[in-house]
């Protein structure tokens, strides 16, 4: 094995080429389908077995490759939308891999074998659009450049690595400039996302299930990331609206029937005057990970739908198709709002609909409250007081409720539940008391998960709350706030994931900062489009300070790249002993004993010793020459000691000289 490895390394050109292929094919392995993977494995085995590529072998391999391609793309002939481009690129990639494999088996290098690594790299860019890939592409480009240099100049690996580093350092400012002025070509849906990002996010779905048998584990997985244009809104306003539910189906709640929604959709849009002034509009940008549902989540209350989405009468924002790929959208919301004065009767009828016989105890209580409080606002307050008085406990693992009498069961028997039980029961109670009410589900973000103006919304932020109609507008009611206790088990669960106490606070913070950086890179590098460029230039025009900041940042980059270049170009320390001597020589230079042209170290030391006889330099001089030129096998420890002794001595001397002055 070792012998083969050596033989492989000895054929330098093939060795370098194989390294290049190793670098570019690695990410592609995540992408290719199983048959193609098997084919690549077969080629690898043949290469390791050192089979000469005889005509028969090559023919068989070619056939195997064609079969592999066929099976890989079999069933993928869905020529709808983007998948056509994806399929086309995939096919080209497979054919390229086949051609390269065949050529590599012949063990001769030809032009396309040399060019293909770059092609494979370029093709793989079609499939990946993530930070991991960004970092890897930079790495790949570096490795390819290095291998090309090593191949063309025949220099040793280390010196070509240095030259590669120098080229990279020089190119840095140019890359930044070109990147700034020539953004990525942005075509719709171009981003496929890193494969890791394609895992479905759960949390909110269109309905709300009341059967608490399902274990609710607070998940830290990010659902969406939000970047606010200005300051972060206060905690009480971070409600991301998902769906609005009216119909109590015992074990779950449902939205309005589709035909009702359709009938009112266009009529009730956010209107001027609904929010106080234009200044109250909060602008932000959302990156939503695939949920495979059609909802987009906007802050309560959304004013403008992102492109391709619609906002309906209940201010649900939905897309035509489910979110299967990461979505990035700009949005604006009014966080201080008041709306609903023109709510349709039909909708209100749904919001009033309640089965009095299902929850007799709640109905009785509601009647009492309704009789005592004719004013809707007072009635709502009384209801909340009553709700609070029931000593309800927030629990992530509640006992199952009796779903035929959900509200009664929750309020008077079990007293335990999580947000859906609180919201569902309160809506029932309101309706029993004659107030139209509905459940809203979505995400209630936590400012703990924010850095500056970046906010991460996690699965465990999924939430349900109530909205009560007070005659002229809808009022949001945070029903879970009525919980008097939190049970110890849930507290423990929450603590484990770092929600409650500052246990693991620092780690959570660090993780959040990493998310923040990732988000910034995604926003400004991966999704930097022509549009973003225009907006940036517009900003620069308006704020000269920003222009100065950008110029300063660029100057910093230029400086950094120059520094890196010079550092790489610095004279290399070939000799260990001379390396050790460096601090000593610079000290001598500072005290006026610079090395003259053609002067040997011994003569330099002698010059110093003539002036300061008895210096520790005598020992350095002796040891250096013995170690460097003598036969004695003395170790360098003594030498280092002597150098340190001299440095101490000269420091002391410098001090005393200074005192004399």
């Amino acid at each position: 094995m070792a012998k083969r490895l050596r033989a492989w390394r000895e054929n330098r050109e093939l060795f370098l080429l194989d390294l290049a292929y190793l670098a570019v094919v690695t990410p592609v392995l995540l992408l290719v389908k199983a048959p193609m993977l098997l084919f690549l494995l077969l080629v690898l085995v043949l290469l390791l077995a050192r089979k000469r590529g005889s005509a028969a072998t090559l023919l068989l391999v070619a056939l195997a490759g064609l079969f592999a391609i066929f099976f890989s793309i079999y069933g993928a002939f869905n020529f709808a939308g983007l998948s056509r481009l994806k399929l086309f690129v995939e096919l080209i990639l497979y054919l390229l891999l086949l051609a390269v494999s065949l050529q590599r088996l012949t063990r001769t290098i030809n032009f396309y074998l040399l060019v293909s690594p770059v092609l494979i790299l370029a093709l793989s860019l079609f499939f990946f659009d993530s930070i991991a890939m960004l970092v890897y592409v930079v790495f790949e480009v570096f490795v390819l450049l290095w291998l090309i240099l090593a191949y063309r100049t025949r220099a040793d690996a280390l010196s070509s690595l240095r030259v590669t580093g120098m080229l990279f350092a020089l190119s840095l400012p140019w890359v930044v400039l070109l990147f700034f002025f020539f953004p990525r070509i942005s075509f719709e849906h171009a981003s496929y996302g890193f494969r890791g990002d394609e895992i479905t996010r759960t949390g909110h779905d269109g309905t709300m299930r009341m059967d608490g048998a399902a274990l609710l584990v607070p998940s830290e997985r990010i659902v969406m990331e939000v970047g606010f244009q200005n300051a972060m809104p206060p905690d009480g306003q971070l409600y991301f609206r998902g769906s609005v539910l009216y119909r109590d189906k015992k074990d779950h709640w449902e939205p309005l029937p589709a035909y009702v929604r359709r009938a009112f959709a266009p009529k009730q849009r956010a209107q001027e005057g609904m929010y106080r002034s234009a200044d109250d509009v909060t602008a932000y940008k959302v990156s939503l990970y695939p949920t495979h549902k059609k909802w987009l989540y906007l802050l309560d209350l959304p004013l403008e739908a992102p492109e391709g989405a619609t906002i309906n009468a209940d201010f649900e924002t939905t897309l035509e198709k489910p979110v299967d790929e990461p979505q990035h959208y700009d949005a604006g919301s009014a966080l201080v709002y008041r709306y609903g004065d023109r709510t349709e009767r039909t909708v209100l009828a749904y919001a009033r609909d309640v089965n009095r016989s299902a929850n007799p105890r709640s109905a009785k209580a509601a009647d009492t409250i309704a009789a005592a409080n004719p004013d809707p606002k007072q009635r709502l307050n009384a209801l909340l007081h009553f709700f609070r008085d029931q000593n309800l406990t927030y629990s992530l693992r509640p006992e199952p409720l009796d779903l035929n009498h959900t509200a009664d069961s929750f309020l008077f028997d079990k007293h335990k539940g999580y947000c859906v039980h609180f919201a569902g029961s309160f809506v029932t109670l309101s309706r029993l008391a004659g107030l139209p009410a509905r459940v809203v589900t979505g995400y209630k973000a936590d400012r703990k998960n924010s850095v500056k103006n970046y906010l991460a919304v996690k699965e465990r932020d999924a939430h349900a709350w109530a909205e009560v109609y007070l005659g002229d507008h809808w009022q949001r009611v945070e029903t879970t706030a009525a919980a008097a206790f939190i049970d110890s088990e849930s507290a423990e669960l929450l603590r484990q994931t770092g929600t409650l106490e500052d246990n693991g606070e620092r780690l959570t913070r660090l993780n959040l900062y990493l998310l923040y950086v990732k988000y910034q890179v995604e926003t400004w590098v991966l999704q930097y489009s022509h549009f973003r460029q225009m907006r940036l230039l517009e900003n620069v025009k308006q704020h000269p300070a920003l222009a100065a900041k950008l110029a300063a940042a660029f100057a910093l980059i230029v400086l950094a790249s120059a520094a890196l270049f010079l550092w790489l170009r610095r004279p290399r320390c070939k000799d260990r002993l001379l390396c050790l001597l460096r601090p000593l020589l610079s000290r001598l230079q500072r005290s006026g004993f610079a090395r003259e042209e053609g002067e040997t170290l011994h003569r330099l030391f002698t010059r110093y010793l003539d002036l300061y006889p008895g210096s520790a330099l005598t020992e350095v001089d002796r040891l250096y020459h013995r170690l460097q030129y003598g036969t004695a096998k003395e170790d360098a420890v003594q030498f280092k000691k002597a150098i340190r002794a001299f440095l101490r001595e000269s420091t002391a001397k410098g001090d005393s000289d200074a005192r004399k002055l």
Partner: protein, 306 residues
């Protein structure tokens, strides 16, 4: 690190210096060349002590001394010797020439014809001579100091480059400094008692053997090779150092290190002998070739300890 001459050799240098005041460096170089097993070319004007140096040196080292004054009509046989027919014995008998000695002073070597010059130079290289087809070994050690007058050109035959290469090193003695000249004028130098031998054959052999085993570390070899490469590649010289020149540099460096009591050589040793080893081997393409110019050119372009 020791840069003064080792105690064992100091009496030798002192003894020669008693007759040639203020010329320690020339004496040390001669001694080094002798220990390195090479020959010396003294290039200087008459009357600065070339002959004194040779004679005293031979005395101090306890060597047989022979001297040939080269003239325009000197024949090879005048140096090597001839076979003549001895009528008494009825046999050819070899009458050995002055070359059959341990220490030969070849005075004003450039005055003789090339044929004669090359006879000497061949003997210097081979350490044996061939007379009438019979080979005769020379005495060991065999050491030649040849002198030539650089300024007299009429009636001289300049040694060709190939012949010059056979001398290990070449230098002048130069005028004495003021102090030394004053001592000479006051009757120091030549008035000193005749030099007595301080070395014998065994001691010389030991010293020569020790010189051969002086350690050249990889770092030093690197320095030597950089110097040699510079003479060849810089384009400043008509031709670079030959391999024989490189060997000469290494041999002189070793001898110089040994002379200073070390069993390993340092760059200072190389720098001490480099000019003298190169002076007759290198010629600048432009301008005059002098010892100092060669030193400056090489030292400043090929840094030591780097």
């Amino acid at each position: 690190m020791n840069e003064t001459i080792a105690p064992e050799f100091r009496p030798l240098v002192d003894a020669v210096e008693a007759h040639l005041l203020g010329k320690r460096h020339a004496i040390s170089l001669t001694l080094a060349a002798f220990f390195a097993g090479g020959h010396v070319l003294l290039e200087d004007i008459p009357g600065v002590g070339k002959t004194t140096l040779a004679k005293t040196f031979a005395n101090v080292m306890g060597l047989d001394f022979g001297r040939v004054q080269f003239t325009g009509d000197l024949l090879p046989s005048d140096i090597l010797g001839v076979s003549y027919f001895d009528q008494e014995s009825g046999k050819f008998v070899l009458k050995k020439g002055p070359i059959f000695t341990q220490f030969l002073l070849a005075d004003e070597i450039n005055r003789s014809m090339p044929k004669t010059q090359s006879a000497l130079l061949e003997a210097m290289e081979e350490h044996h001579v061939t007379i009438d087809g019979k080979s005769h070994d020379l005495k060991e050690p065999f050491f030649v100091i040849a002198t030539q007058n650089p300024h007299e050109e009429v009636g001289t035959f300049a040694l060709p480059h190939s012949q010059l290469d056979r001398f290990l090193c070449s230098f002048g003695i130069g005028y004495p400094d003021k102090e030394a000249e004053r001592a000479v004028l006051l009757g120091g130098g030549s008035r000193a008692a005749a030099a007595v031998p301080l070395m014998d054959a065994a001691a010389i052999n030991t010293a020569m053997e020790a010189v051969r085993t002086v350690h050249l570390s990889p770092a030093l070899i690197e320095y030597l090779q950089s110097l040699i490469a510079y003479t060849r590649d810089s384009g400043r010289f008509v031709y670079g150092l030959s391999t024989r020149g490189a060997l000469a540099l290494a041999a002189m460096t070793r001898a110089w290190a040994h002379l200073h009591g070390r069993d390993y050589a340092v760059p200072d040793d190389v720098q001490a002998v480099l000019g003298e080893v190169c002076l007759h081997r290198l010629a600048f393409k432009e301008g005059v070739t002098t010892l100092n110019r060669i030193r400056h050119e090489l030292f400043s372009h090929v840094p030591a300890d780097a």
